[in-house]
């Protein structure tokens, strides 16, 4: 069963604390990641925003900003189906998705859902993409 998850410990019950953690791999946050973070904060006012640039795990050049994973906890998701929630995120990031971003894994929860299960999903390993031969750098 595919259910790889990390235990997240970001949610604070004391009040509305916007916990925002980004890709801590290589240090610098690229312009695309910064734009994604800014737009999601503006559009969804999230209590939790976990954004990771996962491009390093895919068949793209180093320093790419093409593959992201985002976990969002926002009351704006209340009453929305998963499809509607994802579309809300897509709408906020339409420029990025029409441009450099090839993949966006989304975890969209309401505050109540996050309290029940404060765990972050993980992405499956890359299988090469459009490069026909696996392992091509």
């Amino acid at each position: 069963m595919l259910s790889g998850q990390l235990v997240g410990s970001l949610f604070s019950m004391a009040g509305r604390v916007c916990v925002s953690r980004g890709s801590a791999r290589s240090g610098a946050i690229g312009p695309v990641e910064a734009a994604i973070r800014r737009k999601l904060e503006q559009a969804l006012n999230p209590e939790v925003l976990e954004l990771r640039n996962e491009s390093g795990g895919h068949a793209v050049p180093p320093g790419s900003e093409t593959h992201f994973r985002v976990a969002l906890v926002s009351s704006r998701f209340e009453g929305l189906s998963p499809l509607q929630r994802h579309r809300l995120v897509h709408a906020a990031l339409s420029d990025e998705l029409a441009g450099p971003v090839h993949a966006l894994a989304i975890q969209a929860r309401t505050p109540a859902q996050w309290r029940e299960n404060p765990q972050l999903d993980t992405s499956p390993p890359c299988l090469g993409g459009s490069k026909k031969t696996r392992g091509t750098p």
Partner: protein, 154 residues
């Protein structure tokens, strides 16, 4: 859409393909050239089969981890014969399906001509039981139900 309740167990193995006759596994359909990304063509594709998946790669050789997740989930629900379109083979299809679904990424899953979502949503539905329920509406009895029944009766 109704009328699927009378399907037999045998039909579950190859439902939706009586017109093609004898298709055993997920057949990668060759999207026709010329207008393969047009909404008319895609409309036809998503309506032709009960389960339609747009992938990067094939079920035998997925070229993307997220597409692989989708092809791993479907057989868990006894869905082995479904329509698959490899967008890596057809740039027009790849662009067209994103516009048609108003969804920016691949994989994309259609159930009964309705867009369901991508990998994240299918995985969520698989984990929370919603996929079993949706398949029931299509007259497909997920094998996970039988496994649960076995466990409950032990």
């Amino acid at each position: 859409m109704s009328g699927s309740l009378g399907r037999t167990a045998a039909a579950l193995l190859c439902w939706g393909h009586s017109a093609r006759g004898g298709l055993r596994g997920p057949g990668v359909r060759a999207a026709s050239s010329g207008g393969s990304g047009s909404s008319e063509h895609l409309d036809m594709l998503v309506k032709k089969d009960r389960v339609v998946v747009f992938l990067k790669g094939t079920p035998e050789q997925p070229q993307c981890g997220f597409s692989n997740t989708v092809v791993q989930i479907l057989p868990l629900h006894s869905i082995r014969d479904y329509a698959v379109y490899n967008v890596l083979d057809d740039p027009q299809l790849r662009q067209g399906i994103k516009a048609y679904s108003n969804w920016p990424t691949i994989p994309q899953v259609y159930l009964n001509s309705e867009f369901v979502g991508g990998c994240d949503i299918l995985l969520q539905m698989h984990q929370n039981g919603d996929l079993v329920e949706e398949l029931k509406k299509l007259g497909i009895r997920s094998t996970l139900l039988d496994e649960k029944k076995d466990q409950d009766s032990k």
